[in-house]
Symmetry: D5
Subunit: 117 residues, 10 copies
C-alpha cells in the first residue's frame, strides 16, 4: 500500500445511458485520520448517483478509498471531497455522498452532500 | 440444468386489469458470474410492476433467473436487462427492477432501473 | 370448521363517522391452497381502510378468512378478492389490501390493491 | 387504584408557544377491558401533538390512562376518545392518536385518528 | 467537571459554504435533572442542520452538553433551548433538534423543534 | 371480569406421562398492582414445567392470571406464588417460573424461582 | 389436497451411517385445528435427529405435515405424535421434536419431547 | 439531588427464604465520572443475586446508584465496589455484578465480578 | 469458471501449532444443484476446526467451494463430504462442518457433522 | 500517527487482586494490511481476561492497536500475537483473544486463541 501515490478514479462506458437509473455504493470500511489528534476515524461512505456517459470502475474506487487511509481530514470535508472527485471524473447526472462516522466521545456525525442541490 | 438453452419468460392473463394494482417479487437467490474474474456474484433481485393484460408466470420466472447462473454479466447490466425482458414480454403499465449485490472487497452495489422514468 | 359454508363478513355501526380515521388490520395466519399443485400457501394479509357508516366486525372477519383455508386460488386474486368483498359489504371511504406470501422456490410475492386508485 | 374516580388530564403553560414544535408520547402499557368478553385488551397508545398555550402534564396523563384499566371499551373507540379528551383540555394546534392493539385470534388492529384531518 | 461554569459552543469556518449540505449529530449520552423530583433524566439528542458560514466545533459541543448534567430542566425545554443556542452561535441556514427521553412510569416522550418552521 | 372471585387453575390428564417432556408457556400480558403506590406493574411471566399426571388447562390459566390484575403484590412474590400454585394443583415433575417486569425508574427486575432447586 | 388419505413418511438410506451427525429440520408453516373450537392453530415444528440407517425423505415429510392441516389435535399431542411417527419409521439414534405455537388469548406454548430422554 | 450525601442501600425481609431463587436487576442509566479526564462515563449495570434473609429495597437502590453520578471512579472498580456494598448490606447467598461501559475511543469494556468465585 | 476441473484444497504451515486454537470460517454464498430436480440449492457453510500442522489456504477454499456450483448433491452429503476433504488434506485436530440450507417448500434443513464425534 | 514507533502496552495495579474477576474488551475498529495483496483487512478484536497483579491501561491499548494499522499480517497470526503480548506484559491469570474479520470474497474467518488452553 503506497500512501505516497494518489489513486485516481477510473470510469467505464455506461451501456444504458438512454435511461436515468441509479447506482448505490456502500463502503463500510472507510478509514482516515483526525488532523488534530492523529488518531484514526472510521465511517461508512454511501455514494448514490445517476450515471451519464460513464459508470465508476469499482476496482479503481477501492483504491481511491485507500487514499484516505493515512490522510488527515475532517468529517465535514470527507463527503464533500468525494462528491467533488466523482463529479469531476465520472460526470454523473446527479449524485449524493454520505459519510456516517463512528462515535467519538459519545457523539456520532453523519454528513450528507448532494449535487445538484 | 441446461445452461445452453435460454428459458423465456411466460405470462398468464390478468383477471383484474380494470385496476392498477402492484406485484412485488423478491428473488434472494440470484447468482451470475463476473465477466472479468470468472468468479460468482450473488444478489437479491426485486421486481415491482403494475400488470396490464398479463402477469408473469412465476414458474417461468424461476427458470428465467436460472439463465444467469453461468452467464458473465456486470452488475449495472443485470437490472437493466431483466427490466428490458419483462417490458418486452409482460408489457406492464410500469416496472422497477433492483439488483442488490453482495459486497466484494468491502464494496456493495445496488442498481435500480425503472420504466417509465 | 365447515368448509362447505361460506362465512360472510358482518359490520357494526361506526360511532365516529364524522371523522376520517384509519383502521389497519394484520392477519399473519392466512392460508389457502395453490390451484395447480393442491399444496398450501401462506401469507400475511394487511387490510387498511377508512370506515364510512360501518366498521368490520372482527369475529366475522376471522371466520371470513377461514373461507380461504381449503380454497384453490392464485396469489394475485387473493388481495383483489378480499378488497372486493370488503368494498361490497363494509362500504369504506377508501381501502388497501396487501397479501405478502411466503417464498416458494426462492421467490416471494407481495400483491397490493387499493380503491380508489 | 380507585377505579370509581375519573382522573382528568391537567396542563402546564407552554413556554415556547411562538413556535410550532412537536411532542410525541408513547404509552406501551395501556390496558382496557373488552365490553363483550370482559377479558383484558392491551395496546400501545401513541399521542403526537403540536402544543398551543398548554402542554400535557405527564403525571396527570399517567393517571388519565389508568381510567381505562377496568373500563369496557372497543378498539375503535379508544383512539377517538383519547383524541377528544386531549383536544378539549389541552387545545393543541394539531393532534394524532394511535392505538396499536395486541393480536386476538391471530388478528391485530391499529386505529389512527387525527385532528384536523 | 466544573458544573459552575457554562461551556459555550464554538465554531469553525465552513469550507464548503457554496453548497447546502447536511450535518447530523447524535448524542445518546445526554442526561439532565428533573426540576420536580431532582432525579436524573436520560435522552438521545439529535441535531440536524445545514451550515452557513460555520460548523459546530465537536469538542465544544461535547462540553456544551455537559452543562445540562446537573441542570434542572423540563423535557419540552431541552430541545427548544439547544435549538436556540445553536441558532445564536452557529447561525445555520436551517436546523432541527430532537430529544428522545427514556421512559418514566411507562411513558416515553420525544420533543422535536425546527427552524425555520 | 369479577375481581372478587379467585379463579383456580384446572388440569387435564397427561396422555404421554411415560415420557419426561417439557411445556413452556409465555404470558407477555401479565399485570398486577404495586402494593405501595397503587400503580400498575407489567411483566412477562414464563412457566416451564415437565408434567406428571396432569397438564395445565390453558383457558383456566388465562383466568388464573386475571386474578393478579387488581391485586397488590411485590415483584419477588409473583414468581414464587405462581410456582406454589402450579406445584400444588398440577403436581409437575419439575417447574421454573420467571417474572420479567417492565422497568420502573430506569430499573428492571427479573425474578426466577424453580422446584426442585 | 386429499385430507381423507394419511400420507406416510418415507426414508432413504443414510450414506454416512458410520458417523453420528445431526439433521435439524424447521417447518414454520405447520397448521392444525383446535379440537374444542374447530379454529385453526399455527406452529413452527422443529425436528432434530441423529440418523441411523435412514434419513427422512423430505418430500414425504412435506406431505406428512399436510396430514395435520384439517386434523383436530391438542398442542401437547402434536410434538409427541410426530416424535412417535419418526421413531417408528426412520428409527433414528436420537430425536427431539419441538412445537412452538402462535399465541392464543395472549398465551404462547412451546412443547418439546425427546427420545431417549 | 444532594451529591454530598451518600445514599445507603436498604433491605426488606425475604418472604421465600426457604428457597434459592434468583433476582436479576438491570440498570441501563448508570453514569459516573472518569477520574483522569473529568468526563462522564456511561454503563449498564446488571446485578444478579440469590437472596438470603433480605432482598434489596428497589427505591433505595435507585438512590444508591445516584451516588456515582458525580463520583470519579475507574471501570474496573465500579463492578467490584457495588458487589462489596451489596454483600455487606444485603448479605446474599451469592451475587454477580457486571458493568458494561459505553465505548470510548472505539474500545468497549465489560467488567464482571462474582462472589463466591 | 471451469466446472470440468476439480479445485483441490491447499494448506499453509501453522505458525502456532504448540497451541490448540480455533478457526471458524463462514461461507454464506454456497450453492449446488439438487440431483433430482436439477434446480439450484443455496446454503451457508460453516467450518470450525483446530489446526495441527496446517491451516486452510483461504483462496484455495474459495475455489474448492466453486466445485459444488454445478454439482448434483444432496443436503446430507454436502456437510459430510466437505468434512472428509478437509480432514484428508488439512489434517486438523478436530473439525465440525455445518450446512444451513435455504427453505424449499416451507422446510429448512441444517446438517452438522463433526470429527472426532 | 507514527507507524515507525511500536507502541508498547502499559499496565496499572489491580486493586481487587484477591478476587478472580473478568475484564472483556471489544475493539470493533481494528485494521491491518494483508501481506499478500497490500490491501487493508478489518476485524473486531475481543480480549477477555482475568487480571492478576495488573490490568491493561486502556489508553495504551488504543495506541497498541494502532501498531497494526499499516502492518502486513495474516488473520491467524493477529489473535495469537495479541494474546502473546498481553500475556507477556499484563501477566493475567487467564486470557482469550478473538479476531472476527470482515468477509473477503464471500468468506469470513474468526480466529480464537486462549491461555491456558
Amino acid at each position: 500500500m503506497a500512501e505516497e501515490t494518489w489513486h485516481e478514479l477510473e470510469v467505464v462506458p455506461n451501456k444504458y445511458r438512454d435511461r436515468d437509473y441509479n447506482v448505490n455504493i456502500s463502503i463500510p470500511e472507510f478509514t482516515c485520520v483526525c488532523p488534530r489528534t492523529g488518531l484514526p476515524d472510521f465511517a461508512t461512505i454511501v455514494i448514490n448517483y445517476v450515471p451519464d456517459k460513464y459508470i465508476v470502475e469499482l476496482k479503481s474506487l477501492k483504491y481511491y478509498i485507500l487514499n484516505y487511509r493515512n490522510l488527515g481530514i475532517f468529517h465535514e470535508e470527507v463527503a464533500n471531497r468525494i462528491l467533488e472527485d466523482i463529479k469531476r471524473i465520472v460526470k454523473p447526472r446527479k449524485i449524493e455522498v454520505t459519510g456516517d462516522f463512528h462515535p467519538r466521545g459519545g457523539i456520532q456525525t453523519v454528513v450528507t452532500a448532494r449535487w445538484p442541490e
